[in-house]
Amino acid sequence: MNHQTERLYLYPVWIRIWHMTNALLCLILIITGLSIQFSNPTTVVKFNAAVTVHNLAGIILTISYGLFFLGNLFTPNGSHYVISVKGFIMRLKKQFYYYTIGIFKKENAPFPINEDGKFNPLQQVTYVVLMYGFVPFVIISGWGLLYPEMTVYSVFGISGLDLTDLLHITAGFGISIIMCVHIYFCTIGKNPTSNFKSMINGYHESH
């Protein structure tokens, strides 16, 4: 059987720069966030250093997310995040079957990557929840913690600051879990490193 590699230019420069910046910032934010959350005198990253870096990275993430947001509003990249409602559950099931069973039987991916759809249904729903749910949520709650005097004092009798803190940590935790799964799923490609290379040179390799 002839395995011919097809190279598709799917990731323009702005997406690659944004993606790398985002990845780096998320990593910094997770490490410093954990240092703040589990701060004690023996923590590797000292509390004040962790807070400064976390705040700075959070501010840059806001700018970076703003650019991503605008990019998705005004460039064709946004169309990848539009979920086609009709038959979506069925497609989701197909993709889930592939990841849990089909992949081990060496079956072909049900939704191969092409110019019209660079995300499979499962990726699509995850990225929408991540980029339009968790990330804006973590950014807004983060700003609420950066300016605690701006935060609503109490919500139904619960301290507004504590609630913001809890929601920020929960959203951050959600992002961390998705990031772990995302990195692992990136090894599912032509070979384990091909998807990582794609994010450097912009070309997706399929076979």
Partner: protein, 341 residues
């Protein structure tokens, strides 16, 4: 044909964010302020006039307040028979409204002061009258055992205030018996207690006139001295000065062992950690009181923020660690199966 919704999620999120911003602005405008500000607002709206008929000793005390209740007093000169208007020395002016909401409101003036003050003009030797300190009345009294006045006295005597200024610095410097009102143990609003306690410190450390009653040194610029403190305004309004400037003791809600500035807490982790010093004294007291009144869940959640950062819930830690562990386990199993097949 696959149906595609022609609205991008980004537009939906933008619209939702604008609605959230609008809702937040409306909540903020209606909420307007913390309970502290609300209380101040309420106090400003209602007249602070005290109903003297409620106090059994008010009539008796009025003999003193007639002169000491305001900045000017009037008397008839027995020789010239003229009416004389004089200004009362500032320290001797007592505000009725403040006294009658203070802890000692039920007392007669002459319970603490000599009965001879009943005669005017007051005899010169009355100036030598010894002024009682807190421990003189409250020491060894079973009724006040929970306040641990003896412990407070020991801590105070070891404090930099007492050691440096000796006899000049008494309880009265911070707690005027005419105006003192219990706060930390009775006030459920943490922020109000913090403001109240910090104002005691600022009364001297933020006011040159009072500061120089005990020293010739120039008043330190508190804002400049605390420049190193990140988010300074937030720290000043959410933490009591004594948390960093006094040695905290578990059973004392208000620490009295004030230490020198070189011994003050400067490490962020001292507060922002699981073993935070903030969880001693006032915060511990407030949480345990709330838990007793409202139950564990409400008590922990309904409290006011103490410190952002340190993990407060072991349950949440276990849940998050389990989810994280399971995710990694599934990834490992999936990877192994992929490699094997």
């Amino acid at each position: 044909m696959i149906y595609k919704a022609n609205i991008r999620p980004a537009w939906v999120v933008l619209l939702m964010m604008m609605l959230c911003l609008l809702a937040f602005t409306m909540i903020k405008t209606s909420d307007n302020s913390s309970p502290v500000n609300k209380k101040i607002q309420a106090e400003q709206e209602t007249s602070p006039q005290v109903d003297l008929t409620k106090f059994k000793n008010a009539e008796e005390n009025e003999k003193c307040f007639k002169c000491h209740g305001q900045s000017k007093y009037t008397y008839e000169n027995p020789d010239s028979k003229k009416i004389v208007n004089k200004r009362m020395y500032g320290e001797l002016v007592m505000n009725r409204d403040v006294f009658y909401v203070s802890n000692h409101r039920e007392f007669k003036c002459i319970d603490c002061h000599s009965e001879d003050y009943g005669t005017f003009p007051h005899a010169g030797n009355l100036r030598m009258e010894a002024i009682a300190t807190c421990i003189d009345c409250h020491g060894g009294d079973e009724k006040y055992a929970k306040f641990e006045f003896e412990k407070i006295d020991t801590a105070f005597l070891a404090s930099v205030h007492s050691v440096k200024h000796n006899q000049d610095f008494t309880c009265w410097m911070c707690h005027d018996a005419h105006t003192y009102k219990i706060n930390a143990r009775s006030n459920e609003i943490l922020k109000e207690t913090i403001t109240y306690d910090n104002l005691i410190c600022l009364n001297c450390h933020g006011d040159l006139k009072n500061y120089q009653l005990l020293t010739d040194k120039a008043k330190p610029n508190i804002l400049k001295k605390h420049e190193w403190l990140p988010n300074q305004a937030s720290h000043f309004t959410n933490v009591r000065c004594i948390e960093c400037h006094a040695r905290n003791e578990d059973t004392l809600v208000v620490a009295h062992h004030v230490v020198s500035k070189s011994q003050a807490v400067r490490k962020c982790e001292s507060c922002h950690s699981k073993n935070s010093i903030l969880y001693a004294s006032l915060y511990k007291y407030q949480v345990s009181e709330k838990i007793q009144k409202e139950g564990i869940i409400k008590g922990l959640l309904m409290g006011e923020s103490t410190s952002i950062g340190p993990d407060k819930s072991n349950t949440l830690n276990i849940i998050s660690l389990t989810i994280f562990g399971l995710t990694i386990l599934v990834i490992i199993i999936h990877a192994i199966l992929r490699i094997k097949k």
